[in-house]
Symmetry: C2
Subunit: 355 residues, 2 copies
């Protein structure tokens, strides 16, 4: 069933059918109604491939993430998808599981399907695929790590804003020995977080020498905390480069019978959903996946609408602390009476029994 069939039955030309379907205003309402009637009766749906072929636009965006099973990404995918359907786009999802072959095939697939743009929302070093796509003049948007070249949009993440809030929050709770568990040092984003920690500490006169590196996974957090805990003068608070690391710290603390937050304050980074389900719920620096996806999508949409090829667009995403229940006054510090901590601005979705 194609447009010609519709044309025949409505006794008009294919041109008119096409125009009616696309709501071109000049077509006689009478005819339009006749066309729509047939369309509805037959349950006709235009063939997107044919359309794409002549329009030269596929209405498909590529979306590259590191791995969907990493809890950071599902919400990005969800938001991106929502925006896609709203704008009549389709999304071609790829998770490079840090595998160069996967990236290569991803690029091939995207080019073959003639995507209108690609968002690379991965925290990694997928430099390889960039060149290939740039060469084809596909609109691109990167996060954090993108090359500073014309024609590709870039989302800068303001790590400092959130990390500074976290550090000052801990300092306000009388913590002075604050440790940082960093991420893999080949990731730009991990380095940026560590640097933000150093800056935040030194600017309030605390020393930032308690830094140990993890792997952005639970195991790394456990290992790193074991190391810290063995110190002669262990930290009373730990700030982590991401939430999985913080979960590792909490797990290890539990094994060592250290209660959180009384015995140890822990702060994560990312604000993945999981943090609401830990015991206790994790205080963390939010880097809104929702916002990130939104910015990325908008950037692509802009780019296809008015391709200002030579400008380089920079967007910014700020981070900010969300308070839950994994931080408290430093042990040994006794203030008299009153609630020890600032207002909680976290969305308290989970009806917790107060204790």
């Amino acid at each position: 069933m194609d447009i010609r069939e519709i044309a025949r039955r409505a006794r008009v030309s294919t041109a008119t059918v096409s125009r009616a379907i696309n709501r071109v205003p000049t077509v006689d309402p009478q005819l339009a109604k006749r066309v729509w009637k047939v369309v509805d009766e037959l349950g006709y749906y235009p063939n997107t491939q044919a359309r794409a072929l002549v329009l030269g636009r596929s209405r498909i965006f590529g979306l590259v993430v590191s791995e969907i099973t990493n809890p950071f990404f599902p919400e990005i995918v969800q938001t991106f998808e929502n925006l896609a359907v709203e704008n009549n786009y389709e999304i071609l999802l790829t998770s490079t599981v840090h595998d160069p072959k996967r990236m290569e095939s991803a690029v091939r697939r995207m080019i073959e399907r003639r995507v209108d743009g690609v968002a690379i929302l991965t925290f990694g070093m997928e430099e390889a695929l960039i060149e290939h796509l740039r060469y084809r003049k596909v609109p691109l948007v990167f996060v954090d790590v993108g090359p500073d070249v014309p024609g590709v949009a870039n989302i800068r993440i303001n790590y400092l804003s959130g990390i500074r809030q976290a550090v000052q929050h801990l300092a306000a709770l009388r913590h002075t020995r604050i440790a940082f568990i960093a991420g893999p040092q080949h990731l730009k984003s991990a380095i940026a977080r560590r640097d933000a920690f150093k800056t935040s500490m030194t600017e309030i006169g605390l020393s930032a020498d308690l830094i140990v590196v993890g792997d952005h996974k639970m195991e790394g957090g456990m290992r790193a905390f074991r190391e810290l805990h063995a110190l002669s003068n262990p930290p009373t608070a730990v700030l982590c480069s991401n939430d999985m690391t913080a979960i590792g710290v909490m797990r290890e603390a539990y094994e060592e019978d250290l209660r959180i937050p009384k015995g140890l304050s822990v702060v994560g980074f990312d604000d993945i959903h999981l943090t609401e389900f830990t015991t206790p719920p994790l205080t963390t620096v939010q880097m809104s996946q929702h916002e990130l996806a939104k910015i990325a999508f908008r950037a692509l949409l802009n780019e296809v609408d008015q391709p200002r090829s030579q400008e380089r667009h920079i967007y910014e995403l700020v981070t900010s602390l969300v308070l839950r229940r994994s931080t408290a006054l430093a042990p040994g510090d006794n203030v008299s009476g009153g609630p020890a901590r600032p207002n909680r601005n976290s969305s308290r979705k989970n009806s917790l029994v107060s204790r």
Copy 2:
């Protein structure tokens, strides 16, 4: 840059280029090499839309899930995607966030893109979209809930196998008061799990009357457990209809200062990744998302390869218990010496400090 450009430069016809690219064996190796040379030089990639148009096959599968942010689904998506790239397919992902409008638009999108098949891996009542797709003779595969009609494949889940293992595991640990926290009773899958629990209990002579219904979310688990805990003779073990419920139970138990597993044994259902990150790691009934996605993909592939339209295909997925650390001997039961529990067959990815 199109196939004609290649043809011109290689001084052959477009037919030959097409044949060379598609590795038709009859073409002269000499010519083929000439074609490939030009292809590589120019970085030519065939236009999939044009191809799909003439072939009548889009090489796209639809994948419908409930919501990607539900931790049950990311692994399904990942596996499905892996298989897709392996087989040169693309996937058109939709999460109906339980919203009828979303489902409708999902169907429209899939039909417009002319998907070759659709896997509906959602635990819900998306009956609406079924008819529309069936009418179009799109190959379908359902999980659990599909209508028993010819032409659509169905994946049956064997809930009983895993739940029976769980119940018997608990019974072996001397638990006799075993409660079940069910899921929303409008979901077929939730009902099936509850029934499997009843069957498993009665067949070993235990009474299955400690059933309270939750909502498959953490809050429901917390609420349900509060109810159970307030009983004059509370259960010593709780089996949950899904993992999020179990996490709620653990959280609530923590609030009530009940240690797991010493004071209470908890078993979940689904085996989402999250269960490895709880403290303690959750013993749960595995319903392999990986297998599920694999079966679904295979089923679709079968269907497009040899469309035996009238047969109805039934596949089965068995469930089975995976032991972690949230179950132990019933309190008050003292056996002398020896390890209290069976071998642990769980994959112990996380190097836990034994305690």
